[in-house]
Symmetry: C2
């Protein structure tokens, strides 16, 4: 049985899930023994530890001669000491070009089989990927496991499913029989899938797996060879993923360079050189707006970006203010606000908020938020487990910068202790208060990290107006909105979606605006400055190959 | 019965045709009385004549105050004297922005109904569109009728069909029910179709309808308001189309500015101003590479281009040399080589060509081509009817430029008489002979118009190598190949499609490489420099709108 036949049932389920957009998960999200086996956690942790302080082993790719690395754990503040192969851009390109010649001639079905097999192999590495994610990104263990493990694999599976479907959606041949009066002209036609060539996937330091695998698997399913270029601060988690892809390729007679890991260091960054190489036809980029706009400006390339935005929460009216504020407090504390979907600005009308029929003043509303954040971040177990750690020092500096703006500090950022990692770079979020008019310039900036602002507005109309304007001008990847008034819900929905911001209404309990689920939520809409791509809109797949026709008389 | 219900059966047929890619035509291509009625031709001609020498009437759009026009008939060399409304770019944008607010809130089904109704109205104008096309582009009557009438309408219908399908492909709502241990989190989700805003469609002088309607209808079906900006030399045919769209919009209570015609003059071109306006989110461009590359370089826009390329014919071996050369002669003479799909370079090996088992020398092969061109262009009825007229003087100058290159002239360009239009700018094609090595710089240029070159190569391998390189570097929209050898057919197919050139093998009789049929052939592959778009790959639709999610607890 070949790999396509082996995985066809799950592939068909995944394609069906893409079309239903109901809840679907192929890889279980809880890191429990029942899901992953009794010893998975322990052996994953041991495997992670064994990888430290040496050259990274297990890659099957060409040219592993020079090694370098500079990762540091946000939990211990110590270097991981893992060194990855580094190569000159032209060398990388030539490996990738050669590998492409083999991969482009593989059928979409065979590619799907191999890639799904790779996902199964990756599944057995979820725990080492989780510990690697923890100690590079600063995510807490649970998020590290879920985001880099099952959720990432599900996003990859979604890309495979849609990639397979798009490549088989039109017939690959047809008889074209045109009546022309007394005669017919009959042509045999076929259409060939022509991949673009080399795809480059540039990762970010905070979500090195989740944000990279959609581009990697979208490239691979459509026949492009792929260069994986992680952020130098977060290489290990995706390097483990690449090993498993390479193993699967090699086991099936393919050149492992089809998926090539390349690393660089802060002193010798190679992303721009790779981006500008004419053989690189596709670029997937996740990261900051400055580099993102550089990538988007490159000519004669197909570009997919996920940058950043200024996300809003709009508080109009609620059924239970405390539940609302607990939910919001969690959203902005989760991984210390280092999610591209975390709310930054919380718009609250100066006239206060209707709470289950009773008017609550602005001050009381703000107090409820302050207390919710405090309650969460000072909780001896939930606090550090929610916050994780701050990925790098620049983000701590940004907190300082925010408190220096002159905005009123509603809640200061405090050191939070993680009993397991006393050195952990863990702090509670700072909460500032801004005036809708006077402080517009300040809250219109993106403050990536544990920095949130309550913006006092005249009324909900002004809240919506500002949130919409920010989405149009700066981009937004999420909008949390709270209203019990149907006409207000409709207004928020219309205005915010017109600005390309997905809206989540009235979330309380264990579901948060930050979360975008595979097979259901399109992550990034591609229609505001937060990014031009969308996981996984079919367009994310289609630009990676062309359909080229061949005609011959029948 | 609403318009969607009225047209649903044809819409479903068109969607099915898009997926089968067999022969399908909704609008009959022959301008016969049985298809279009006894009086259609006469009244179309009369209507065309009645439009001449005055301000263009019938548009329902805003701001018709100033008028200008500069069209000239390639058949009479006299101005048409039709003046079209001209407006300042900012005025056009504000009309279009206002119209967008209404159109974006219309359902895809309602949009499909209105647009299909518009196609039915356009059908009743096919003859006046044909005469307008003739007297602006220089196409002969039959091509004018087919390309601007039924074939264009079929391409528009294809865009509507795929546009409707893409917008209804995923559910617009779902219940997302996630098991989380003891509880379930249940969300009601919906996804909104968010059009981009204003789309600008810039036309060319040679195919003002066929090349513009895919973009116009793709914009409109996806809810974008559309500014139609034809080439100042060829406004009338598409202006008639716009009237019918506007009428259908107005008849159904919509703002006719949803599809706005704007004109300019050579002295005061406005395309760049429109392109650079931040409200213009989508640009469809057909025309020359220089402006096309400018358009492609614009930031924060979705760009679809169809530029030009250097198309090749590869002669390896044949079954009947004369039939082959007759077919090729027709392809390069049809509309005087002013089709973006016309072959320019005919690669013939110096060792000659195998003709049904018998070797024919290079010289004999070339002679057969020369005789075929002569036979066609000097034919008293077929000659002028195939050639049509040269659209503008620059193209005549280019013939002069080509004959001044020093290449051997195999067949000179001669004046061809059109008995109905003695002033007609009609000439036979020039055929030059180039050496594969020595003259590479010359034949690697695009020589738009009735200019072809026989390129003498060492062998078919060299022919393929050159044709492939030209497609990669300069772009190609077609490749005509002739071979009776299966391994050579496979080689040509592999190499040329890898360079994004569609290949037609062994065409003889009444079917030519120039023709790309709606519902079957993807026109332009989007993967070589000839253009980044493809009629009608789903990607041509998808980038015109976003899917934006809304979630609320169930």
């Amino acid at each position: 049985m070949n790999l396509f036949e082996k995985h066809q049932p799950e592939l068909m389920k995944a394609i069906s899930a893409v079309h239903k957009r109901e809840f679907y998960a192929h890889f279980p999200e809880m890191p429990s023994a029942s899901n992953y086996g009794e010893s998975a956690n322990d052996s994953g942790k041991a495997n992670f530890t064994a990888m430290l302080s040496k050259n990274f082993e297990g890659l099957l790719q060409s040219g592993q001669k020079k090694f370098a690395g500079e990762e540091q754990s946000p939990y211990t503040l110590k270097p991981l000491g893992v060194n990855y192969p580094v190569n000159e851009p032209q060398e990388i390109i030539s490996y990738s070009e050669k590998a492409f010649l083999q991969w482009k001639n593989t059928s979409p079905a065979d590619r799907a089989g191999i890639l799904m097999e790779a996902l199964e192999k990756i599944k057995h590495k979820f725990f080492e990927i989780a510990y690697s994610t923890m100690h590079t990104t600063g995510q807490a263990f649970m998020m590290s496991f879920q985001a880099s493990g099952p959720h990432a694999n599900d996003r990859a599976l979604e890309a495979i499913a849609l990639g397979y479907e798009e490549q088989t959606r039109f017939p690959d041949n047809a008889i074209w029989d045109k009546p022309m009066g007394k005669i017919n002209v009959t042509l045999k036609k076929k259409w060939k899938i022509i991949p673009r060539g080399i795809g480059l996937v540039i990762g970010c330091s905070t979500f090195p797996v989740w944000n990279s695998v959609p581009g990697i698997f979208a490239n691979l399913i459509t026949g492009n060879s792929t260069i994986v270029k992680p952020h130098p601060a977060s290489v290990l988690p995706i390097a483990i993923v690449v090993i498993e892809i390479q193993k699967t390729l090699a086991d099936n007679g393919f050149n492992p360079d089809i998926c090539f890991l390349t690393s660089d260091t802060s002193e010798n960054l190679i992303s721009k050189k790779l981006c500008e190489n004419p053989s690189v036809k596709l670029i997937d980029f996740t990261g900051g707006p400055v580099f993102g706009e550089y990538v988007e400006s490159l000519k004669n390339k197909i570009i997919f970006t996920e940058k950043a935005g200024v996300n809003s929460a709009i508080i109009d009216s609620v059924n239970d203010l405390n539940l609302v504020m607990q939910n919001l407090a969690f959203s902005l504390s989760l991984y210390s606000g280092q999610m591209c979907t975390a709310p930054q600005n919380i718009f609250i009308p100066e006239e206060g908020v209707n709470n289950n029929g009773k008017k609550i003043s602005y001050a009381e509303t703000v107090t409820s938020l302050i207390n919710s954040i405090k309650g969460l971040t000072t909780h001896p177990k939930m606090g550090f487990a929610t916050l994780g750690a701050v990925q790098n020092e620049n983000i701590l500096n940004r907190i300082k910068e925010a408190t220096d703006t002159g905005l009123k500090i509603l809640l200061n950022s405090e050191k939070v202790t993680n009993p397991e990692f006393p050195e952990s770079r863990t702090v509670s979020p700072v909460l500032l208060e801004a005036d809708a008019n006077k402080d517009k310039e300040i809250f219109s900036k993106e403050w990536f990290g544990p920095i949130s602002m309550v913006v006092k507005t005249k009324n909900s109309e002004e809240s919506i107006e500002l949130a919409k304007e920010l989405s149009f001008k700066k981009g937004a990847l999420s909008c949390a909105a709270y209203s019990t008034d149907n006409s207000m819900i409709e207004k928020i929905e219309t205005e915010m979606t017109s600005a390309g911001a997905p809206v989540s209404f009235n979330l309380t309990g264990p579901i948060w605006v930050n979360q975008h689920a595979g097979f259901s939520d399109f992550h990034v809409t591609g229609c505001n400055p937060a990014g031009n791509a969308s996981f996984t809109n079919p367009e994310f797949i289609l630009k990676r190959f062309s359909l080229v026709g061949v005609r011959i008389p029948a």
